[in-house]
């Protein structure tokens, strides 16, 4: 690979920021509007992916460097842990309510 090509970026940082912002907002809207509990979890995954993309992009284009990769690895691992716990809670919810509709979870409302 040519040395002048290897230092040039294939795309601007703005492209990655744009994609990450769209992923983040899609996840927020998904969390806010879905009535299915599993759908809410998928929104959380989208939000975490948008944040991850920002970490990696800033690690590539700024002095963050390899630390951005480390942080995104932590995010991936914690997202897997969060999905496991949240799915266990969803299964418990389904066992108690016989539905996964989060609007049914109104036992604590007065």
């Amino acid at each position: 690979m040519n040395p002048e090509l290897s230092t040039a970026a294939p795309a601007d940082l703005n492209l990655y920021l744009f994609v990450a912002a769209v992923l983040f907002v899609s996840g927020i809207v998904c969390m806010a509007t879905k009535r299915n509990g599993i759908g809410v979890l998928m929104g959380v995954e989208l939000v975490l992916n948008g944040a991850n993309l920002n970490f990696i992009a800033f690690g590539r284009f700024t002095k963050l460097g390899i630390d951005g990769h480390v942080l995104s690895l932590f995010v991936i691992v914690l997202a897997a842990a969060e999905a496991a716990i949240a799915l266990a809670i969803a299964l418990n919810f389904y066992n108690n309510h016989l539905s996964i509709d989060v609007d049914r979870a109104d036992s604590l409302s007065g």
Binding site: T7, P10, V22, L23, T33, M42, I56, D67, A80
Partner: protein
């Protein structure tokens, strides 16, 4: 022969640049499809495509280890977990829980406002002027993933509390690594494993208080 290799390099670099836009468009389209699909199984499918496209973007940013981890852990692990959740909680084969149109409009308005805020603040900074300078500083600082090929060794050293920059200079002092967070995360994963197994174990199903729900009778008869 040298000219041919150079042309092949240029062609590969152009394909690289095009693949970035393909992956970006794929990630955006699939993320929007997750939001606007009502069927949970199709949502999971679009989410798989979106996460795979994000992994492609990671590869385009020279983050090979993180991209592989994204494919292995997210697409291979977390999504399978989510699909198991869909299967274990579906009351009917074509269960759809529609959101009210008013709530959808409200969520869309809030989402568009948030998107405008994020984009206007992120794109207001002139990254184009700063990024060449910063990239050259990064290359000079010892982080040169294109030339070194991969980031796996660098990541392993970081997790151990060192970096190849420290090892190259040989000053005997190491920068702050990520050994303690790594250990905390590993213990956290063990706790999560035990907690998930405790929470999800089968219990006696409680009878519903009222039978007004449409999906409850189907689930009870099943």
């Amino acid at each position: 022969m040298n000219w041919l290799a150079q042309q092949l390099d240029n062609l590969a670099w152009m394909a690289h640049g095009g693949a970035v836009y393909v992956f970006a468009a794929m990630a955006i389209v699939c993320a929007l499809a997750v939001v606007f699909t009502h069927n949970v199984v199709r949502m999971a499918f679009w989410l798989i495509l979106c996460l795979a496209a994000t992994a492609g973007l990671f590869f385009s940013l020279n983050a090979d280890f993180v991209g592989a981890a994204q494919l292995l852990i997210y697409v291979g692990g977390t999504l399978v977990l989510l699909i198991f959740g869909v299967m274990l909680t579906a009351s009917g084969p074509f269960l759809q829980m529609r959101t009210k149109p008013g709530e959808m409009v409200l969520g869309g308005v809030v989402g568009l406002a948030l998107l405008g805020l994020l984009l206007s603040s992120a794109l207001a900074v002139r990254w184009g002027e700063r990024s060449p300078v910063l990239a050259s500083e990064v290359v000079g600082a010892g982080f040169n993933p294109v030339a070194e090929g991969n980031t796996t060794r660098e990541l392993g050293l970081k997790f151990l509390g060192a970096s190849s920059r420290d090892l190259k200079t040989g000053r005997g002092e190491l920068s702050a690594g990520y050994l303690l967070p790594f250990e905390i995360v590993s213990v956290h994963l063990l706790v999560v494993l035990i907690g998930a197994a405790y929470l999800a174990r089968t219990k006696r199903r409680k009878q519903p208080a009222d039978s007004s729900g449409d999906s409850r009778s189907a689930a009870l008869s099943a």
